[in-house]
């Protein structure tokens, strides 16, 4: 959250998370090389440099699948939300692995200085075996670099959350380029059906997860307002404790109506950080907590607790004849609204 600028807000959770990622990547690369060298007959005659290159590349691709699976998994089951918090760290690690793979390939195929490595890439002709896979890999690496370089919150604030999120959707283009890179590269030089099967399984898994998540998280139809302009949300008890109900407004936009004990408050559904869906979050330590990165807001005022400075629009609520009513007109961000209360 934004009180003062810090390069990375390190905490114990982030250190443990990063150490686990680094250890996992190292174990994968070492395991890949050892298993290929001693257990796979197909790897006979393949140099150590090539095995390490394959280990780095496949590790990056596996990590990209994990990264792309986190979003739909969270929408399908909130228990995966903890994986979202530092997803960018996974992304930067994935880029570094891909970069190491590319640098090793450039050096190796450039004969470690015998041939200009850039020329070695572009010298690959368009033969009968398909397009040159190196170009796909290079294009994907350029996109991953752009994403890793702009992954910091400084760029999020500078570019605006909307532009930043659209920019980072280029990951799907990078993913498609990487599938093409592997399909016309490793798949053309590897007779084993294992790689093709794993690649197809990865694409199928991601496609299924994203389609299932899209079906699951369709927003509700806009609620109609009564003659006084208020929206009937039904009995207050329908909202589970410390959770929210998402309300789509007739004029567009959406509101998260939170229950905290016997009190109810309504704030904008859009987190000020990256536009996360607050209605999918919950109340933690008395504050509405975004499910994406843990940004927090006081439900009654829409303001982040001090020293943080984020503010969200708030909405008026009232209880009428045992039903919760919402005024769809937004108050200016940070406006305190007395929570509606029901008898315990």
């Amino acid at each position: 959250m934004s009180a003062t600028y810090r390069f990375v807000n390190w905490n114990r959770h982030k250190r443990v998370y990063n150490a686990a990622i680094a250890a996992g990547a190292l174990l994968y690369v070492a395991g890949f090389v050892v298993i290929s060298r001693f257990a796979l007959p197909a790897a006979e005659g393949v140099g150590d440099e090539v095995l390490i290159m394959r280990a780095l590349g496949s590790c990056a691709l596996v990590l990209l699948h994990v990264i792309l699976a986190i979003g739909p998994l969270v929408r399908l089951d909130r228990r995966f939300a903890a994986l979202l918090y530092n997803r960018r760290h996974l992304g930067v690690t994935m880029f570094l692995l891909a970069l190491a793979h590319a640098l090793l390939a450039l050096l190796y195929y450039g004969g470690f200085g015998v041939q200009n490595p850039i020329e070695a890439i572009f010298a690959a002709p368009l033969g009968p075996a398909g397009p040159p896979f190196e170009i796909f890999g290079l294009a994907a690496l350029a996109i991953l670099f752009l994403m890793a370089a702009t992954s910091h919150d400084f760029w999020l604030a500078t570019l605006s959350p909307r532009l930043w999120k659209w920019l980072h959707m280029l990951v799907y283009l990078a993913y498609a380029l990487l599938i093409a890179h592997v399909s016309f590269g490793a798949l053309h030089s590897d007779r084993s059906p294992l790689l093709a099967a794993a690649l197809a399984a990865g694409v199928l898994l991601l496609t299924t997860l994203h389609i299932a998540a899209a079906r699951r998280s369709r927003p509700p139809a806009p609620s109609a307002a009564d003659q006084q302009g208020w929206i009937d949300l039904g009995p207050p008890a329908q909202i589970p404790g410390s959770r929210a109900r998402l309300v789509c407004l007739p004029q567009g936009g959406s509101v998260a109506v939170f229950r905290d004990g016997n009190t109810f408050s309504a704030i904008s559904n859009v987190c000020a950080h990256q536009g996360g869906p607050l209605a999918e979050g919950k109340i933690v330590s008395g504050c509405v907590t975004c499910p994406w990165h843990g940004y927090q807001y006081i439900a009654a005022s829409g303001t982040s607790p001090p020293p943080y400075t984020e503010k969200l629009p708030t909405y008026q609520l009232r209880i009428s004849a045992g039903r919760l009513m919402l005024n769809p007109r937004a108050n200016p961000p940070g406006t305190h609204v007395t929570p509606a209360e029901v008898a315990p």
Partner: protein, 55 residues
């Protein structure tokens, strides 16, 4: 913003997934017949890089 992005996700994957699987099948169908072809007229080398590029 969020609704638009989720809509974009919902539109992207039904197209992207089958397209990538089709690409995979194409790559499998165009695999070189042999990784180590015997040299001769018309034989396509598996690795067309110049010999000096090898380490």
């Amino acid at each position: 913003m969020l609704a638009r992005q989720r809509k974009a996700h919902a539109l992207i994957w039904p197209v992207l997934g089958p397209a990538l699987l089709a690409l995979l099948v194409w790559a499998l169908l165009t695999r070189p017949a042999s990784l180590d072809p015997a040299p001769g007229p018309g034989a396509a080398p598996a690795d067309s890089r110049p010999p000096e590029a090898a380490p």
